[in-house]
């Protein structure tokens, strides 16, 4: 299975919750169950190690937990299993939780999480089945509830991953609507970021440009480092599209150290790809090559087909400008092979959706 966009999903999911954390360190005084569970909601993806420590604490006091807390504990435990790649354990726990809970939010959220676990495993038919279950009663859930936002976001991620852009956009718009109702900068930042990504993908530079102001405004208010890095990257994309590579380099270099520190390889690869592209536009091929090759290596390690396509294209073009034709041809051929691979994967996912929806 290709995880070309899965990492992005993890990133996006995490950005929603990181800054809402109160910033309590492992060394600090033990939290009460209620606080631990609240923290877990926000750090479970961005800081899996700390999440595991919290879960261990909760496990030791399981008997003290009330019904609602026990269910949340199970939900986050399943999430932790999924992050560790223990998919079967996560699935069992989530199915058990969905079957036993009488809380509609927990039931829908369990299905939603289950759907994403199946997607990570490449089982898209199952992913679509549980995604449909998760949104079955979405209209009855309150917009104010965090679970609803997470469910819609998981749906948007799943459909985006499957290349079903129209469905994904529908969910992204719902997210934006909820975020606007809330007025919470974090959600507004995340939802506007999603919309700006869509607009850029569709080359609606004018729309993306006007959206960018909202993204930067809300992401600054949200005061979350990951969000800032992502929004800077999207700003650089926009500058590149507007043929301002110099400005793009400036923006990217301003945040590059933070990117290296934060340790997300996907984000590092994304920044380096964009830097490589910008330097190539400026005719600075040595810098372009350094960043491009580094991004390519990371993409290979992550088996990120989408990113491999992009880096191969950039590297092939740089080598041809440097008159290293054999290397250029090698990267062009790789580009074609990866592109075919991605088309195949995406079509299979779309078909999985069709198979599931035609069964209704």
């Amino acid at each position: 299975m290709s995880f070309n966009k899965v990492k992005k999903v993890f990133l996006i999911v995490s950005i929603l919750y990181v800054s809402m954390s109160s910033g309590i360190d492992e060394g600090e005084e033990a939290l009460i169950p209620e606080a631990l569970l609240s923290e877990l909601e926000f750090i479970k993806t961005s800081n899996p190690e700390l999440a595991r420590a919290y879960l261990e604490q909760l496990e030791s006091i399981q008997e003290e937990l009330n019904q609602q807390q026990r269910e949340l504990f199970k939900l986050y435990t399943a999430h932790s299993f999924a992050i560790q790649g223990k998919y079967a354990k996560a699935e069992n726990l989530l199915i058990e939780l969905a079957d036993s809970s009488s809380d509609p939010y927990i039931v829908s959220r369990s299905y939603s999480m289950l759907s994403n676990v199946f997607a990570y495993e490449g089982k898209f038919q199952e992913a679509f089945i549980y995604s449909a279950k998760s949104v079955e009663n979405i209209e009855t859930l309150s917009d104010k509830n965090l679970h609803k936002f997470a469910i819609l976001q998981n749906s948007a991620s799943l459909f985006k991953l499957a290349g079903l852009d129209n469905k994904a956009m529908e969910y992204s718009r719902q997210l934006l609507r909820i975020a606007e109702t809330h007025g919470d900068p974090l959600r507004l930042c995340a939802a506007n970021y999603e919309m700006a990504s869509w607009e850029l993908e569709h080359s609606s530079t004018v729309m993306a440009q006007s959206r960018m102001d909202s993204v930067l405004n809300y992401c600054n208010k949200a005061d979350d480092i990951l969000l800032k890095l992502l929004s800077a990257e999207i700003k650089a994309q926009l500058l590149l599209l507007n043929r301002k590579p110099n400005k793009a380099v400036e923006v990217l270099l301003e945040w590059k150290d933070e990117v290296d520190q934060i340790g997300y390889r996907k984000l590092k690869s994304l920044y380096e790809t964009r830097l490589s592209e910008s330097y190539a536009e400026l005719g600075k091929y040595d810098e372009a090559l350094d960043y491009g090759l580094s991004a390519y290596r990371v993409a290979k390690q992550l088996n990120d087909v989408g990113m491999l396509i992009e880096t191969c294209r950039i590297l092939a073009s740089i080598y041809s400008k440097l008159d290293e034709l054999e290397k250029s041809v090698k990267f062009y051929q790789e580009y074609i092979d990866y592109e075919k691979q991605l088309r195949f994967i995406t079509n299979k996912r779309k078909m999985a959706y069709y198979m599931v929806s035609s069964r209704k």
Binding site: L164, D165, N166, M169, E170, E201, H202, S203, S204, R313, A316, S317, S320, L325, E326, S328, V329, Y332, Q333, Y335, I336, E339, F344, N347, K348, K350, M351, Y353, Y354, S358
Partner: protein
Amino acid sequence: MKPFLIKLCMATALLFVAQWPVAAQSLEEKLNEAHRLLTSNPEQSGQYLKELELKQSDFDVSQKERFLLYKGHNLLLEGKHDESILYLNKLLEESKNKGTKAQAYSMLAVVYTNTSEFMNAFVSIEKARLMLDGLTDERAIKTVLANAATIYTEVGFVDKAYEFSNSYLKEVSKSGVVKELCYAYFNSGHIEIQLQNYDKAKDYFSIAIDNCKESQQELFHSVASQELTSISIMQKNDMELLKKLETLQSKIERINWDVAETGGLLKIAEANLRFKKNEQAVKYAEKAFRAESTDNYLPHKKESTRILATAYSNLGDNNKAIEYYQLYIDTERQIQLQLKQRKMAYFLAMQSVN
């Protein structure tokens, strides 16, 4: 004529050809004759329709509706899109028959697809689809499904095309009209190829070939045979089959359908590439690349540049290879951009209809 239009004409042709005997001169007979000749001889059909237009006051309701539908279709085939839209809209305003309206909407969608007004095309085809609910008029159902499958295939929405193509296949299987089976299986095979489900595509093309032969659809028969041979070459690496591809190509060239002809050249080029006959691959791919229809049909442009780039790199001509690789990437970008713009149009269309 744009290649896309030709392809659509082929699709709709199957649904409208020869259901009445060659006719005498009553209103009804003239209408039938205009219908019969609609796609096989659009010019003559157009003459009948001109005559009929002068006698509109004598039409009953059903005749009036059929006249407007055929006129809209005829004008579409002539490439007179604006006029076609006028007639089809008039039909939509005046008709109370759900089946007729569904057909009119689906034809309107074809016109808009031809003029690249995708938002209108998606709105129209969705309206036609919604009208299928509870409809029993078989011809209307089949027309809408066939047009929807063709439109979604052409705009590159494989999953939507798959959905409609499957429904169309089920529908024509009920009546068992060989001509319709020929097209339905051909179309489904074509979609399976895009999904890289080659075994399934083989099954569909085999059935299509039988039905196309029986219904004397020479073009679809030859193209389906070529598709089947191409898959066999890919799976068996049998060089003997290359000759068969070339023989089938001669047949297609005689029929003179430009898009199918270029598609055939690309299959031969790809087979040569597979057998490391790089010079031959270049020869056929260049011919396909330079074909007039290729300029308007990006998938062929993409395929020909891919083969040329690979063949030239195999021949050690890296300069030429890079030239075509870059063209390939530019074409792919254009395709993706088109696709994304169409997806956005589809999204907005669905929002406005539902």
